[in-house]
Symmetry: C2
Subunit: 126 residues, 2 copies
């Protein structure tokens, strides 16, 4: 998969190297925006943001759905739906182990999003 490809994918976003410079430095191409926006969108719901933080801050690097669901006053299917959204956005990975399903954060894409929002001290915007 060449780095020069015009169209990015979730795979690229989870790579170790940054896919894009901060938005304070260059305008994002439409193709890049189309790939990155869903990730931000997935974090744009309070429930999913909390879910994401619970998963990302889990002591063992992963957390059981059975620990996530009771933390909200929402039905099981609703939590499952939100987790699916996070999964499809490439933010988390799931893994069934026996009866329970465990979720794990994907640090690569989180780094990409953080890098994109980086504000350099010397930026005009700063």
């Amino acid at each position: 998969m060449s780095k020069q490809a015009a169209v990015l994918s979730i795979t690229d976003l989870n790579a170790d190297t940054a896919c894009c410079p901060p938005i304070t430095q260059h305008r994002i191409p439409a193709e890049t925006a189309a790939v990155l926006a869903p990730a931000f969108k997935a974090l744009g719901d309070p429930v999913r943001l909390q879910l994401m933080s619970m998963i990302a801050s889990a002591p063992d690097g992963e957390i059981c759905v059975c620990d996530l669901t009771p933390a909200f006053e929402l039905s099981g299917p609703t939590i499952s739906h939100h987790l699916k959204t996070l999964r499809e956005a490439g933010l988390v990975d799931s893994d069934r182990r026996g009866t329970w399903v465990y979720y794990r954060a994907r640090p690569g894409i989180m780094r990409q999003l953080a890098a994109l929002l980086t504000v350099d001290a010397a930026d005009p915007a700063g």
Copy 2:
């Protein structure tokens, strides 16, 4: 404005000091998620993400709406609507100067969001 207030506001998000540790370190409280999620949500649309990058990377730190609108194949009202969304999320500031309206990025909240997504090398998730 005390730092211990349970409820945050957009003002807090634009402060220079970080309001919250990275989500890889602590679970986000519901109140914090409720304040931060709209900012991510605002960035969750490809058009708004491009608008934000055009504004944040503007050479003079600000950019005229008249330069933003022709960059998209969308009507003026639609661009105006997206800009309003970014404004209400606290991501940009607008400023009318004579005939034209200029938009400027608010680096404070961008830093907050970036800090929230920071993945430390020593994190279990990393």
